[in-house]
Amino acid sequence: MTLATLPSTEGPSGQPAPASRQPRGGRLLGPLLAMPGIVWLLLFFVAPLYVVLAVVFGGVDPIFRTVIPVWNPVLWSSDQPIYVLTHIVGDDGIFGPALLRTAVYVFTASVLCLFIAFPIAYYVARLSGRWKGLLLTLLIAPFWISYMMRMLAWVNLLANDGIVNRIISMGGLLPDDTEWLSGKSVVVILGLVYGYVPYMIIPLYAGLDRLPSELIEGARDLGANRFSAFWRVTWPMSRPVVIASVLLTCLPMLGDYFTSDLLSGSPSTSMVGNLINNTVLTPGQTGQAGAFVLLVLIVSLVPMLYYVRSVSRSDGAAI
């Protein structure tokens, strides 16, 4: 996690970073130092995406059911993507529900994350005073706790004889034999929120921390009440950061399969990540997994490019 990957907050005082000029001397030093990293990215980031294409548009060995990647785009066959596409809607729509569910889960979880994250980030960044350091440390802490441990914690709490059921039965509100961990959408969505909300709070914090407070104070001085000062000054200024933090949260959710696996384990809550995970290691279905990967990639391409553009435009030199 790093706080440096944000678009700058747009405000009247936000001046563009001075364009740094070419440092003098050693014209080759830059390319020379950057080359190993660039080659690494080309080999292990760009090339693998081509391999996905070669597998998706390749064939399947009729006997061993292994994938036969086709490297020449001229010879590509679209059997596997067509198989996947024709099984999304209609009578054979075996993949449709999971895709729809992914959209609903990711949308709901992102909205909930924003409702939780914004007030907290705002409070810690602007109002917490001398407690700021401690609160920020506690907000960052979940980053360094393994996602698996955080899910394991909830598996323990939500078990049939777990603490959640015991607390409920003490209150006598609900029957205490609710099976939380078998196919409950609510549990999976809350699990996603629990898992990903730190990834939203921290970038939001960094963005809100940078807002020029003179403008907000000025708005109050000039007669705006709390709400209109927030709505007409704070919110418009923080919008780029809000969009970036929402993207940083919902993009990784699109590939999530382990939250559903651990907190439900039932096909009734499987997401597109589960489709990928279930097919990628099954002989003969690897091409389908590749097709789903391609699908997620296409869906997330526009948001990803938007993020890259807004971050690299905001300060010319720094990423």
């Binding site: 950057a34 603490i163 914090y205 990784p252 690897t286």
Partner: protein, 291 residues
């Protein structure tokens, strides 16, 4: 009613509601983990009801404790191995990339910048599956296992040191290295003797962040692990969490947690010490890359 509206209008009133929301959130976010860690010290088999304190699941139990269960030991060792190896490869690569991109203007470095950011936001599952397909479909000098895992992790983490170091470079500016060159240093020795020492805090921070992130990684290490001998702790937790595990699993997760927290705490102390010497800001925010 008057008092209430006076309270509402008071511009200096304390934001108690927001404070309560924040504290509530922190409890919700951290308590479950603390409870899970506490049950690793449970005397009985249960992970849900407390039966007294013991170290049984760490080393007491002759078969199922972390110390005596070979699969858990293997997982823990593999986790630490991946953390160290990835950090050793990733951080120098990222620093060189950051300095290089900082000094290079044009189309190629701009594209590289965008690629780096793209690798930062690409859903991890997609990269992991792509690399899995590469390793299983191409004749490479390595197969699934530690090498593949390190390659995948370095690719996924490369943006952290590069972004942190670039953010620091942007605040340093070009004056100092130009002064060094005016005084007769070559471009390379200006980097080595002026810029690199100023980057040390950012380098320490990024090394710690990469290490802590790698030992918590799950998606890449799972797909690129060859067999049980290269499955790290997070995969072990995933595989056993729903299959009636003993508190030994909680103990394993707690050890991982302690390792990550220890690394971060030591890194932060080193960062603060180094930052004090060169008169930099040293908050936890700047440690994590806030500019």
């Amino acid at each position: 009613m008057n008092a209430l509206s006076a309270w509402w209008r008071d511009p200096w009133r304390k934001p108690r509601l927001l404070a309560a929301v924040t504290i509530g959130y922190l409890l919700w976010s951290l308590l479950p983990v603390l409870i899970a860690a506490a049950f690793s010290f449970n005397d009985g088999r249960s992970r849900t009801s407390w039966q007294g304190f013991s170290m049984r699941w760490y080393y007491g139990d002759p078969e199922r404790s972390v110390w005596h269960d070979d699969t858990m030991q293997t997982a823990l060792v593999q986790t630490l191995k991946l953390g160290v190896l990835t950090t050793l490869v990733c951080v120098p690569l990222g620093i060189a990339l950051a300095i290089g991109l900082h000094r290079w203007r044009g189309r190629i470095p701009n594209t590289a910048n965008s690629l780096l950011l793209l690798s930062f936001v690409l859903p991890e599952t997609l990269l992991a599956v792509a690399l899995l397909l590469v390793v299983t479909n191409l004749a490479l000098p390595f197969t699934l296992g530690t090498t593949s895992q390190v390659i995948g992790l370095v690719t996924f983490q490369l943006s952290y040191p590069a972004i942190l170091v670039r953010a620091r470079l942007a605040t340093i500016g070009h004056q100092l290295e130009e002064a060094a060159m005016d005084l007769g240093a070559s471009p390379l020795s200006a980097q080595r003797r002026v810029i690199l020492p100023m980057l040390v805090p950012a380098i320490v921070a990024s090394a710690v962040l990469v290490f802590a992130d790698v030992i918590d990684d799950f998606v890449i290490v799972r797909y690129l692990s060859g067999d049980a001998s290269t499955e790290p702790t997070s995969v072990k937790i995933y595989n056993t969490a729903r299959a009636a595990p003993t508190p030994a699993l909680n103990a394993l997760a707690t050890l991982l947690l302690v390792a990550a927290m220890l690394a971060v705490a030591l890194g932060f102390l080193a960062y603060r010490y180094l930052g004090r010497r060169s008169g930099e800001t040293d908050t936890i925010g700047s440690f994590a890359g806030e500019t």
